[in-house]
Amino acid sequence: MKGWLSLRLEKRLAVPRWLEYLTLALSLLLALAVIAVLFRALGVNPIVAYQRIFRGAFGSLYGLSETIVKAIPLMLVGVGLTIAFRARVYNIGAEGQLLVGAICATGLALACPNWPAWLLLPGMFVVGFVGGALWAMIPALLKARFRVDEVLSSLMMVYIASELVNYLVYGPWKGAKEMGFPYTDKFSPSAQLPRLLPTRIHYPTLILAVVSAVLAYLLIQRTKWGFEIRVTGENPEAARYAGMNYFTTVLLVMLLSGGLAGLAGVGEVAGIHYRLRYPQGVSPGYGFTAIIVAWLARLNPLAVILTALLLGGLLVGGDAIQVALGLPVATMYIFNGVILLFVLGGEVFTRYQIRLEWRRKT
């Protein structure tokens, strides 16, 4: 019996809804099972760990509030990414756009500390949006005008943004009262977002995030621009045939996804830290985690609200097992990675029919 087992994929035409949800659920379960095995192998009791994570994230009012706090930036960035990914524009530089949003808001907060809050806070959101959008414009223009691949260019822009933050907090914006920490000075009270006390939920940003999810949904499903985005993403040739302008569509989706990431950055500095800090201090990779958020939501902006809470919960759960089991925070990235891999793999089952064949050697 000479031969080999070969795996063949055949495109499926119709994908029933229930199958999509079923595979999503199965992928998640399978991912959790695999992580459990990994934990076991590395000497961590997976049942205990899962309990702690769940309790930490959702089991108390505090945990829940922290989950929401972490979900806010994920939601804003994730919503923006669904728009871009729908047009098949792979903006993976949201982390950088978020940081630039934070920089711009900080700039305004430090420059005009005496403006009243009703003027300063909206102003910060506006400059944050503009900053993030402009940062995204660079890869967008390179793509639309010179056909430079946006995956690589937007990724490079992340590290430039990150060094820019470092430059500012170690250099010209270094706070006088921060005892050598790479922070700017604390914002004046009028540049601090109100919170839902006693939690850290900066609710104006939360409202902004939820509203943007709804607006993005309407944009994609109900407006002519959304129609252009969907057609461009599905079939660029048909988009040309229909008289749509590729250039403006790419610019539009990058502008929106960059701008929304910028808003997330504003939320972090104005709602949580009240200052600009070193890059990892502003965002522990929200811009990258949001890619999972968008993908898990199947590029549906409304579903992003849920998936952002889920991934936010995982981040908080990570803190919980750090305290309870003494595991490093980075452990939670295992969840991100494995879940993403399984969801990606699961999609294959919905897009293709998978056939295992035994092939004889001829």
Binding site: L13, A14, R222, T223, K224, W225, G226, F227, R230, V231, E234, N235, E237, A238, R240, Y241, A242, G243, N245, T362
Partner: protein, 512 residues
Amino acid sequence: MSDQTGSDVAVAMHGIVKRFPGVLANDHVSFEARFGEVHALLGENGAGKTTLMNILYGIYRPDEGEIYIKGRRVTIRSPRDAIRLGIGMVHQQYRLVSTHTVVENVILGLPGNFFFPDRAARRKLEEFSEKYGLHVDPEARIWQLSSGEQQRVEIIKALYRGAEILILDEPTSMLTPGEIDELLGVIRRMAAEGHTVIFITHKLDEVFDISDRVTVLRQGKVVATLETARTDKPSLARLMVGREVLFRLEKRPASVGQTVLRVEGLHALNDRGLPAVRNVSFAIAAGEILGIAGVAGNGQRELVEALVGLRPSTQGRVFIKEQEVTHQPPRTLIERGVCYIPGERLIGLVPSLSVAENLILRNYCQAPFTQGAFLNYGAINEYADHLVAQYSVATPSLKTPVKLLSGGNIQRVILARETCRAPTLLVAAHPTSGLDVGATEYIRQLLLAQRDQGTAVLLVSEDLEEVLQLSDRIAVMFEGQIMGILPADQADLETIGLMMAGAKKMSVPEVV
């Protein structure tokens, strides 16, 4: 069984049948080629020439029939089997790695020295260069080479793999006249060395320039195999296209109105940046159908794309209702009433969007479908409902993704969208290709109805019968030029066949 084949017969194919969904591509085809001969395989597009040769090269498996190589019965499962049997094929689209050097392309996939694998090959390349006149710099990168040089690399690749039987699929279609002469020289030398060259073509001149014998295929069947020296162009043209027209459509005489489309000296390039449309001029009036006949790849696609704004023209001017629209984007042309049924259905549709959304694909941004920024789904669905009923699109619902519909219904969606608004100019490219008889009939009636209501129709089709039946005037394109425009009632198959094969050109009358 080997008594069937004489000792000088290199290839013999008997009773080859190949079916594709809905098409009988080869219908009991028998074919023979001898050692040392150049054998032309002549026929229109879709006659089954390339299919037959793809079977010989192992790309397709025949449903029925037998193949003999040098008198021995063989089964060819893949190109690798074919190569082992000494068969080589040069496809119309070259299969070369464009950033590699010539010699790297030649040795790719072959066993041999691990280090410096190109050294042995280089000697062989020099040998070919001397023996056959296949001159090409072994160190040159493919992308730096002209089309003719790339073709030489493909031939060298086949020879390097020991090909004694070489199939060339429309080898002159991408070449300049000078390069064609060189190629013919190479072919002669190969035949003189005892190779068999099978030359697929639709051009009569080439058949007479190069071949010893010619086999004519029509609609999947062999019509004749002849000694080239004992035949002439008109009889070959008749054999190639001369079928009886099976049925005549009821057609009212055209009531021609004002000129709608006027094209003056248009030039355009193909995707490779080479001239594909060359100095094309014609006009179409309201209420008439101008058919463009020609073998695929003679610039029809580029001409159509230039007319609907999808391809920039490099020279010349286009007018619609006497207003210049040269270099206008598709959107402007849509607004001027230019509708377009594209040759490839996938360009005209977004497979995963719904039937309703696909029905407004080209006018989504006009009222009432868009109000302000928002799509008005009420109006869209109402409109779609109306069209689905009017054009009898069989769909479970308006929300069904079009990719779930059958081919005929998908085409109806496009037709409905492009014809329902009484277009000024309707450009239809291969509107019935791949459809069954019923759908074809429906579409032809629809095009006539469009004409009768005063639309100017430009019909491009490889199906000569279709062009003859529907058109009021017929233009024939060959190598990017219009060879002539004939009124349909004066068009005889022989003239058209000769023009399609580039053998005859007539002066083009300037005005309608």
